[in-house]
């Protein structure tokens, strides 16, 4: 079981992911944009972040730049949760150190729980594969 941070601006989805991951036994905190997430990260140390890309105030890419994922938090897995498949934003997120990209509208709850577990069981060095 792990500390998981959900960063998703859609309240319904944020609540749903929280229910699903809590049921799996994870310790879950949630934020509704990148700025809120950065604030939360001062007191919460996640092993995995579920990150939306398109959000108000601070989007996912800007969050990744500010969080310095590649430089300072190599052990934290970031799963991009977006509906912008095959987009330049996804390519950029990988460059900034994201572990995997998942299409929200294709993902059932069991799959969400599974990809979170898969990511948590992957070593940091495997992330680029």
């Amino acid at each position: 079981m792990a500390n998981v941070l959900i960063v998703e601006d859609d309240q319904d989805l944020n609540a749903a992911y929280t229910i699903i991951l809590k049921k799996e036994g994870h310790d879950v905190e949630s934020a509704f944009n990148g700025q809120e997430a950065l604030k939360l990260l001062k007191k919460f140390n996640p092993e995995l972040i579920l990150l939306d890309l398109l959000m108000p105030i601070m989007g996912g890419l800007e969050f990744l730049q500010n969080y310095s994922l590649k430089e300072q938090h190599q052990d934290v897995k970031v799963l991009i949760f977006t509906n912008m498949e095959n987009s330049p934003e996804v390519t950029e997120a990988y460059k900034l150190g994201a572990h995997r990209c998942i299409i929200k509208s294709w993902t059932a709850p069991q799959n969400l729980a599974r990809v979170v577990d898969d990511a948590l069981s992957t070593k940091a060095t495997d992330s680029a594969a």
Binding site: N83, T107, A129
Partner: protein, 371 residues
Amino acid sequence: MPASNENTKKQAVVGSRSAAEERAQSEAIFNSIGDGAIATDEFGKITRINPTALRILGYKEKEIIGKWFPSAVINVDENGVPLSLIDRPITRAFLTGATVSDRAYFQRKNGTRLAVSITVAPIIHNNRPIGAIEVFRDITLELKIDRMKSEFISLASHQLRTPLSAIKTYAHMLADGYMGEILPLQRRSLETIIGATDRMNELISTLLNITRIESGSIAIIPKTTNLVKLTEEVIKGLRHIANDKHIDVKLKYSAPAILKTDSLILKEVLSNLLSNALKYTPEQGSVTIKLTGRNQHLTISVHDTGFGIPKHSQQQIFTKFFRAPNVIKHETSGTGLGLYLVKGLVTRLGGKVWFESEENKGSTFYISLPK
């Protein structure tokens, strides 16, 4: 003077007047073309340029007439790098003897770039080129509208998907008992909702991908991919359709099929081909997917025992919105975008797609991809 001599002279005057009139007429046509037009002789020297071309390029007539076309009119790519001589439409027209159309950028006299659509027609006389005419038009506005259209579709699709994600997630949560026990009838209703959101998602994906292919903005993220695993996932995702129609789906491979490609895009391609095969194969039929590797390429074939593609429709099968008349009779739903998308995506992955088909016997679609 004898009468016959008089007549010959008159005919010569009439003849020469006709030639002059023809020249004046062609001059007027050339000058009044709304697009830019430049004519060259067989050596590529500019012999004529119309006022629109002068205005677009920013030159005066005397600065350009008699100059060698490739050095007087500079073509550059989107990054401002001059095109090599062999890549220029006019060179290709001279070399092939055929009309060539392309998009490029002109570098104007003041150094600015301008996007143009170019058509070059060689002038052929006695089976040899004696010159060429290049006609071009400014497409700046077209490109801007194209970009705006792509951005709009991309944003609209994304916005459509956000509520869809919530519908699907909560329907799944209800069906999976996250909110308490449910009755079998309620579960079936939830499965219908989930199926409908999946169909909507597929449509949005298709629209998004087509927009991105057409605007050249599709992002390819190559990763080491296990093709067997990927194909099994695709089959699993469509298994319910096969089961409903009692279609036997087989996957055959002789060795591990590992390649470096964009797995999400390849999955979309395979899903399209398999879902087509299942859709257009009657009940009790069979679909076989084979993975074979040779040298630096992997080939995927999807064979079905379905309705097949009539000979007269085979040339159009990869064109947008095309649906063969024999399948419309059996299956009314369908956008005619699937194979158009498959071809666009496979091309972006650096691969090739082709097929063999016989009406009422079935079809085999092949994809070859670099490892």
